[in-house]
């Protein structure tokens, strides 16, 4: 019985880490894959989502709608930022990093001034189940299932809708897409909005499990960056899935055996080894094997 519960515990930890990585990286990788901009204000997008969720929840709106509202508000916010700032930095990768970092500093410190060091946390819903002596949160199991469905959902948007077709065309060859009548500016803005919205939803979902403050998002970003770097953007979906599942395996094993810090270090070391062998990420490697 004891071994069963620790086995379930391990699986649970693994699924939890996978969903953590997928949710925190999905918005980032879409924006990066689409426009080559790594959004260093990604953590602040998550923070905007979390704040909106919390405010909405405490003004009496049901939880699910609060989370969706968090995603929508962040999405609109993202589109505004793209129009006003980000679009000036297309094609200048390093400058866009620095500019979004400035934005990140501005937003997080602005939130600190406006709302103080912490806002009201939202209680974790859904209760728990137990195996043997260990008890597990249902919500985290839900997050895992949700993250899988989220990937499928985003994949369908990119493959089955008109926007998705135009977005993929723009990603492939912006000039040609423009020549064929695609409004690439609009596509960029919408994709940025989609990425920001996904970050906002992730922020809202994690807000139910953590304390929310101005620097809330920054605890998720380093691992999101590693996931994106390891996954690569040859194919954002296979990259994200392969990278999240393999990194989570490494991290879970090391956290189980040692402690959380060793888990983080192991992730970083695996990332550095993997980029030494696959500088363009797992997805590029997978694509090459396919062809």
């Amino acid at each position: 019985m004891h071994s069963l519960s620790s086995f379930v515990g391990l699986i649970y930890q693994y699924a939890d880490t996978v969903s953590f990585l997928i949710l925190s990286a999905i918005g980032l990788i879409i924006i990066f894959g689409m426009m080559g901009v790594i959004n260093l204000a990604h953590g602040e997008m998550m923070m905007v989502g979390a704040y909106t969720t919390s405010f909405a929840y405490y003004s009496g709106i049901p939880l699910i709608i609060s989370v969706i509202l968090g995603g929508l508000v962040t999405s609109v916010f993202g589109i505004l930022l793209e129009r006003l700032i980000i679009r000036r930095f297309y094609g200048q990768l390093l400058s866009s990093l620095v500019a979004t970092w400035g934005l990140s500093l501005l937003l997080s410190q602005g939130a600190l001034l406006a709302f103080g060091p912490q806002i009201k946390t939202v209680p974790t819903p859904m209760g728990s189940f137990s195996v043997g002596e260990l008890s597990f949160s249902n919500y985290r199991v839900f997050l895992f299932i949700f993250s899988i469905f989220l990937i499928i959902g985003v994949w369908s948007i990119f493959n089955w809708t008109r926007f998705g077709l135009q977005a993929r065309a723009t990603m492939e060859n912006p000039k040609m897409a423009k020549a064929l009548g695609v409004n690439t500016h609009r596509i960029y803005a919408l994709t940025f909005g989609l990425g920001a919205g996904l970050a906002g939803i992730a922020g809202g979902l994690f807000a139910l499990t953590a304390t929310i403050g101005p620097f809330y998002g920054q605890s998720y970003t380093p691992q999101a960056f590693i996931t994106v770097v390891v996954g690569g953007i040859a194919n954002i979906f296979s990259g994200l899935i392969a990278s999240a599942f393999s990194l989570a395996a490494v991290k879970t094993a090391f956290v189980f055996q040692y402690n959380i810090l060793i888990g983080h270090v192991s992730m970083l070391i695996i990332a550095i080894i993997s980029i030494r062998m696959m500088p363009e990420g797992i997805s590029q490697w997978l694509e090459q094997r396919k062809s």
Binding site: G36, I38, L40, I85, R88, F89, Q92, L93, L94, S95, L97, V98, A99, W101, G102, L103, S104, L105, L106, L107, Q109, G110, L112, L113, Q218, P222, F225, I226, V229, L261, H264, V265, L268, A271, I272, I275, R276, M277, P279
Partner: protein, 358 residues
Amino acid sequence: MSQIKILRSLSNINGKNDLGNNYIFWFFFFLLLLLGLFSPLILSRYQLLNLSNHITNIFLGLSLCLIWGYCGILSLGQSLFLGLGGYTYGIVGINLIETHGNTHVALLMGIIVPIFTAFVLGYLMFFARLKGVYVAILMLVVSLLFETFLNQTAGPGWFVGEAHLGGNNGLGRFSGVIREPPSLIFSFRENTIEFVGSSIQFYYLCFGLALITFLALRLLVNSSFGYKMIAIREDIDRTEALGHNIKLIQLIIFCVGAGLASMSGILYVSWGNFITPDTFGVYNNILPVIWVAVAGRKSLTAALLGSFFISWISQWLNEQGDYALVALGAILLSSMLFAPEGVIVKITQKFSVKLSKQ
């Protein structure tokens, strides 16, 4: 013959890979030099202490300017090397100060350890031909990991020899132990000289080092190696096609940058006799990026002025209220939007256009 060669290479100091190769520049240069030399006579002890602190930042700014502005390698975790240098210097210093009576070994180790780290990281990144954005992000992630690691070293088990790592209180008096990192002490035969942070000696040490470093870097960027660096910044593939070993050049300059940043760290620890894990954190990593990006990353002069004056301004803002970091974020963002090459570079360009019109 050899004298002519030396003279010719020394004239590189006035080369065109940095702002300022006319008499106006050198006039202001000597004006600042005189101001710097005589300021200890005018300023109070406290003002001098602050001035020394701002000067220690210059090395970090110059290191980022060198690797990013001249070689196109952006590192968002450049403060990693500052922290590593500072911590190594502090730990070795605490352990050896009693037996040696000086900090020679600590100083040496404080430079070697960051350079070695840069060598390992740089080898892994540049020889894998990693994209520039990835290099930038990975450096930040490594730096943040050091912050996380050091923050959990508060327990009694975390001693390196006699130095207690001290968790988020860091190395030094705030962690409650008596042993704090020593100030720089040099000894030669019978003579010993100590550079206490608030002293005039320390000020002149920083000032002299900054001056030498600045001039040496001007020589470097105008040398043939400097031209190769700039070629890499402008077009890495073309430079390689011309037969240059780009990976090696990137690695070398990355290590030089780490050495420069470590000097900032060592001087900082020597100045305040403490260092905390915050050094590896987000804000200490964004600061050099702000100095260099706002002033002008493609010029050593601009980076030097930027590091000195913006760190001065940010200290002043800190004294005014809580909005210092918001202001810095706004300054960075607006300068990226309206003066992408840097404010000082933009101003001098306008000025020189006016001059040439007359």
